[in-house]
Symmetry: D4
Subunit: 233 residues, 8 copies
């Protein structure tokens, strides 16, 4: 393992990652065979005492449970994890959704940030078709170090929030929609084309990536310059 | 001409249209050869005493002027027309733009509606990146019989207005933008995917179509049920 | 609730909407979990004595029935509603389809307009491949305050109707088709590119949006200028 | 030349083609260097006493004129040809356009068919936005052995004609249009998705291909079964 | 029924079509409800003594059988028909496929042409990856009045055949393929872009349309000019 | 101006923005008429004593110079600005490019960050086709609070850097490329699909947006939590 | 069979292929009916004593087993084959994957090359998000006559390897990914747009084509110029 | 320069490349400023005594000539190079085009291979619309170690050649075409979807990449296994 990874044959675990980036490797479960997944989870868990994965199925949860009894599964976010219990969540990350159907993606983002030590505030169903709902909470949202705006359909939420706050906004287009909005491309293109300043975009439904970026930004915000930070504390 | 059109060989003027729809034929000038255009303009002008065309070039203006001295040309909207001077504009049509660059398309819409007798109110540069600018005029906009929302880039303006007013909103995506927003497709898809109620969409940069729809709706609003209406009064 | 909405946590009901727009909030059922949907339906029903939703499944119908026994479900249109029985339908809205397969989308449009008080006339299977079928009813269609043209495949119906009537036409492309017509994009692009005047377009299969626009236009037509109107009478 | 072609190095003239297909090779001029084009034209002209090419520029016309003085050029269709003068045109091919802007493509089709001996009847500006113009000539069009329907924008003309006649209709989408109709894709997809029977489609702006197909079909129609036919008589 | 159609409410049967085009209405079964389909089949069968439909399912076959016991169903082509038994097939239509997987679409084309009286010759699995297979039969194919080239993947078959024969070639792209060839778009675009002369294209998997065009062309070829023809003899 | 903006008729300057976000409004010059641009620049300059705009042309530079003599123009980045001279640049922002052709976009990003007070380090031409060039500077890049990765063609640079550093990476796809890479879509999709953690993406060629996000993140990093920050110091 | 193929009616087996290309015909099983497949497998097996097919299902395996008892099936690669047992594998082909999910496509490539006599070395899970894993094996990979780089998502692996080795790299984009990366288009476009030299690309998930190209290249490398080679030795 | 590159600030010359891959760095001239280009050319020329670049303009040629008088420019291929005069060309590379318009791309490929020491045979204008032209030379083409098939429009040439030869075929789609074939996407997708074995594809118009791959393959073929090879001999 002197190359910084552990070779399982079908996979090379990047055990150097925590050293390099501050956060341990996260498992993308979708499409991984159960036997492979069990070995990957077990190896990471044995190394760090915790493990975090996204896009897991119920069947994968059952399989991993046979090797890590303390594993837990959240149906909404599809997150499969064994997490240390004594984490102190710090900073301020706002996670907003346009509608109720965007909640699963938002939860993937929120729980990722929480696993790595971030304090998350949720603002759900504040889409622009009834903008008074967003305006009612805008002062709270503006306090966040980083705002995650999760929206499908026309994805206008990211633009409107981008015009209201001073810290970075991460737009997460979702595949909620139909017709030209099906699959999330309309929302993605809208967020990339935003007229607002300070809006970055991630791939469609990629709540994980948004949560990861938010925790990176939050980490920079909560520590004094030069100070160290442990994402898994 | 008993079939309801006048055959010029290269074109068949639809002289039955005013009878059928209440509004005379409008000329789409783009790409028409000057000799053809002169004949088309002259025939319509002789029939009705006025004529209206869109997407004209300066060269086309000069050409048509040789046969209709009273023709006028507006560089911003590219409208080429000879209009009766004694029109009374009635009703209430709001034309809004997200930015300054959307004004040419907005003017095509506004002047089309005005040519057919509609009273137009303009609200320019009220895009969502600084939403206080839109909120400051929302009560005025809400009085319109029909609102035209002209926006490029992410086109969020149509959705936000759609959530604020009770009458129909016509979204006009513009080709203002670059990258994935180039050509107006991002704005078009956003408007079609809107989460707001009562938003219809027209083709990219099609200010004329929006103006025409607005005047149709305005006509229904200003006359009492059953009453007649002359779009060119 | 002084902000104009009721916060259910997973959703913020826009109870201010009827005040703002004249029509109460409509529920988009697709993809909503049954427990959420039951609470949303119950809250709206308790507030207004009626409730209307689109794209519901049979399972959702069964779930909502447990909290609102008078709820009804129409399999063709997938509309799930509890409607006051004493409505007087007024005005004139024409709903046309190109083929038999477009009927579900047409019914979503028609029943939306009817729920909000509009009188609807249906003209089904009048597509352009046998244009004598359309020409046989064109005088009736021309009497409508607003015409909804529902068509898949090449979507030519909207253009042809647009050339025949004087009031606004709302084109609804449907996902009926295959090959390059699959998913409805060919019909959508055809309607947006129409050479006819006065055709607005909505998203693919979005019968609801067309019905909503039609009732807005019909409302402007049936009341005298300045007069009030109750969409739910 | 026993392989059935003449090798010019930069090109291999398919002199076997007339034997194989009944019609000599046609030159696609666009993008060919003038020196190459002169040699190609001269070789074909020397072989057959006539030569026909499409998409030529004025500069190419001037260049070819230096080697074939009797060459003629038509600016509208961009056809560059030297044609035998004593051709008898037979059969019946109808060429229709939706608008005036579609005429250049229609002329490429019509003149191709005429060069190979077909009798062509032109019906221009009969688009569906004023369908009475098409209905006025439908009985004449229905007599053709093959109908070419040239249309940009939403391309509905091909579908409507397809429903009115009994012989094959060849749809030619044109690049006339803007927004989603720009480049001709909307018209192409509409024609391919047509609900009418007996509509074949060719590439956007490909008048030549339509003219060639029409003359093939016309040839089958005008000769008795088993009889020979000389496309260049 | 003086308008030339029979109104079933959910459908308007175009009983004028045989008069107008020489061929009776064909039923597109896909997506039609069984109760509707039974009525449509029964009405056409009662009118003509035969009926022909495409894209039917086994369940639809069972349903229609309850009202027309003599109905037959072909699983490969998905054609559901009751056909008069004494037809004389005339002319010459060649149906070629690139591979074995293209046979279902080819059969839809071939059986359509046969139903309307055409004599069909089949050449299956003659794709260009082993071009000696095609060259071995090219002289036979060249005798056809019309050649149908059915191919998925890169669709090169239509171009190669187009270069070998003198009568029209109808390219039918199929959805056989994967990656960029999935859904048939690569084959469609290749056929539309063909460098060969005399190739028309139809929508992806649209064997019916190709068969219909072939029978129209075959009809023109087999009758002497001016002579009448009964497509259903 | 109590609404927080200054209304110039054709534009509504968002003078509230600096208050709201910490950074004053930036002018997007592209496509703005010179007369409009002069007024916009003059108003902002008079308000703040400095002004910054992107995508300006030489002609626009000349025009604005007539009203602000101290304006300067950089041809590479197309930035047109008048900047206070005594700024102290702080923090650490790394701007990397894959190739030489990506430098204009990189400079737009770098100079935006510098205008708002960030210290920028440039690493140009470190693309993955010779990865030793990137590995030679990776330790320096890893010190940045935020890394901007600018790349066209296949855009792999963002992914590789994402795997090497611990702070956020902002991917900027450029329109450098041809064929399927033309216009920047291939690079955009690659960056959005990255397998690396902590990569956000902005629109194609949108150096400004990347620079703005970087300065927001840098601001959070350089100040102690709770401390104030003046972006224009 | 003097034309070089065996005609089974539904298929024409290209028995001339081994003569022509050095490798016998391979069966693409997907979508072939079991009865057809059994006959195709049996004929090839009888001719050569071995047979190789890709994209087979378990059901197809069971069917073919009834006619070729020695047939074997590999679930990961979906390869269905009966292979001679005494093959000597020669040369050096490297097969690399970015992640674990790309292994099925990689195995299709590797086993194809092995069936035709190539020696294959596998390097799995060496994607660029942890580039130290790739750098650790780069000297081994550089020894291959041909490198196959299999990657989904952003497909950066092909570019990075292309910059490290001197022999040809074949990029195989996989459909592993979601959002804009779904279906493999992002990886395909990235590989085609690569800034590295010597990278060829095949269709998405087309491991077979990559394996075939690799064995062709390996064959050229392992034999002395002019020497013969038997791919199936 | 101990990192293996020479840092010019705006560029980092990969002087390690010849060591690593056997071939020196090639300059992609398009879009590079003349001052930059002169320095890049001069540095490479000074290092190796020769230099090779693609996609150069006449103006760039004039600029580079001022620092390297012996530089030569070929207008057809747009190659700008100073090449050692005593190269011995070895091996066998076939470069084929479908039409005359594909020659510029073919020359870029051919001259790249020649610069690096390959012997090239050219077969131009052998497209499939007259397949006897290709069949006449197929035995010669089959002798090549690698065949480059350059074609626009429907790109069928690569598939047909792929079925005729035993060594690798590299398909180069060109942007020659219009309508759906415009820009080369139809040809690209056809080549990627090919039903033939042993066809690799490169980006549209990327003759350079094809020439580079061919020379890599040719190098493996001409040397005995284990033997060294100097690409610039």
């Amino acid at each position: 393992m002197n190359e910084g990874y552990k070779d399982l044959g079908f996979a090379k675990l990047d055990l150097d990652r925590k050293e390099r980036t501050g956060f341990a490797e996260v498992v993308f479960c979708e499409g991984k065979e159960e036997e492979y997944l069990k070995k990957i989870y077990k190896n990471i868990f044995d190394e760090y005492g915790e493990v975090f994965g996204t896009r897991a199925s119920t069947a994968q949860f059952e399989a991993v449970k046979t090797v890590i009894p303390e594993i837990t599964y959240d149906k909404t976010s599809k997150i499969l994890k064994a997490s240390k219990s004594d984490k102190t969540l710090i900073g301020n990350i706002a996670v907003c959704t346009a509608g109720t159907a965007d909640i699963p993606v938002a939860e993937e983002a929120a729980q990722t940030a929480e696993f790595f030590g971030g304090k998350v505030f949720r603002y759900y169903d504040v889409g622009v078709s009834g903008i008074h709902r967003l305006l009612a909470v805008k002062d709270e949202i503006a306090k966040a170090n980083c705002v995650i705006a999760v929206a499908g359909m026309e994805g206008a939420l990211a633009s409107v929030i981008g015009g209201l706050v001073s810290n970075p906004v991460i737009g997460v287009p979702t595949s909620v929609g139909y017709g030209v909005g099906a699959g999330g491309t309309a929302a993605l293109h809208a967020m990339l084309s935003t007229c607002a300043n300070g809006v970055a975009t991630v791939n469609i439904d990629n709540g994980y990536c948004a949560g990861y970026l938010a925790i990176q930004i939050n980490r920079l915000a909560v520590k004094a310059p030069g100070e160290d930070y442990d994402g898994n504390r």
